[in-house]
Amino acid sequence: MTTAEIPQHRTNTPGHEGWPRVATPGATNKYFMVSADCHVNEPANLWVERIEPQYRNRLPRIEVDANGVKWSVVEGYKPTKLRDLKLEGEDLERSKVGNRDPEERLRDHARDGIDAEIIFPNRGLQMWATPDPLFSQAMCRVYNTWAWEVFGPYYDRLSPLACIASGDIDGAIAEIDRVAKLGFRGLSLPCKPTWGPGRPEDPNYNLPVFDPLWAAIEQSGLPITFHVSTGKDPRGAKGFGGAVINYAIHSLAPTAEPVANLCSSGVLERFPGLRFATIEAGIGWVPWLLRAMDEAYQKHHMWAFPKLKLLPSEYYRLHGASSFQEDPPGIDLVERYGLQKNFMWANDYPHHEGSWPHSAAAIERTMGHLPDETRARILGLNAAEFFGFSLPA
């Protein structure tokens, strides 16, 4: 790898002059850094080998049409045409890391200054991409069992969350009980319990039908996460601008929905032990959403029910968190809106939209104006508290 192959936008930095602590890998005064969002490449044959036979022919797969064109076929997605993608330099390197060898991951994290990580699936994000919650739960069970086999011995630093298909409430409660006993430190739920674009008749997290699920989660003591692209097909647009529209509007923006569902419906009043986090959706939108929820609750008081003890924004501040990679507008709003305890940084290893292996530069570009204590919280202490990592002595 030569320096010329590393894009400048990843390495540009104003430096860290005047910082009492830094993000530089290996520095003696480095922050304790937890990446709240990383991904693992699962074994290619994980689900076909382990899932119950009745589900095997429904698993995601590559198909060829009558014209010889190859398509990725997943139950809940529109078929996606496969294109040859030629990657070079660090892009190629990122495509080859993120594997399931714990020691390899620890080496990669040392290179980027990461002390601990929260791991989400990679191809496994497709586990929720089906209208059948029983099939989804079956895929989640396979992933959870495998993830614990591989990372259980490293769980103090490499921590996958247990994936749960919340549309199957009874199955979800049973799986939460199983993974809590194994020792998982958190849960990953889809942004919507029912896969798809969203219809008023579909059950959603604001409705009391999910109270048994919240009770089980509260009893487990585990925090909930909502990862981007898990409630509906993020490929909602095609043609001109499709890549941009799909990323911003159909992947990231829908992650706000579970926040509003939990904060406005009384769920957090009935289950005060619940904690939740949005993952990979950025943070700039959070102050806007808090304001929008409060505005609706106050100005539309004639329609807003149930009446709550606190404003919706206050439930987020007490129970909620959000992860981001690089979000300068969001960082600019942290102090102004008092969200120092709610935001969690992540390098999104090994994804291209993340900052690995130049996280220090990304942090220096965007967080220079924050107080040291706020940087420390956002870079690791908030995630450590949320997910229950031990802090270094």
Binding site: N45, V48, D65, K70, L82
Partner: protein, 101 residues
């Protein structure tokens, strides 16, 4: 009845050995039942055809970042030997989930 299958030692897009997976089909709608092979090829094996099997499905992963390609063999009556490399993974399969436009 047995089927002998040769699993080739092909190189995948990562420069490693291609991963292969074999499973039985049952019924008339391409339903998948038990699997009988999962490995990196370079070997051959004999597999007793289970009662009720109506075919077999071979999956392979040219790129492990993508999902598998597959090819179905739907007539087991005279099948004694099969070379997995000779299967056509680049044609539409009978139980395709692709929707006709």
């Amino acid at each position: 009845m047995d089927v002998e299958i040769a699993w080739p030692a092909l190189v995948n897009e990562h420069g490693g050995r291609m991963l292969w997976f074999g499973s039985w089909l049952v019924g008339g709608a391409g339903d998948e039942a038990a699997w009988f092979y999962s490995g990196r090829g370079g070997e051959r094996g004999r597999y007793p055809v289970p009662q009720g099997a109506t075919g077999l499905r071979i999956r392979r992963w040219p790129n492990e970042g993508f999902d598998a390609e597959y090819a179905d063999v739907l007539d087991l009556r005279r099948l004694q030997k099969l070379d997995a490399e000779a299967l056509d993974f680049d044609r539409r399969q009978p139980f395709s989930l692709l929707v006709e436009e």
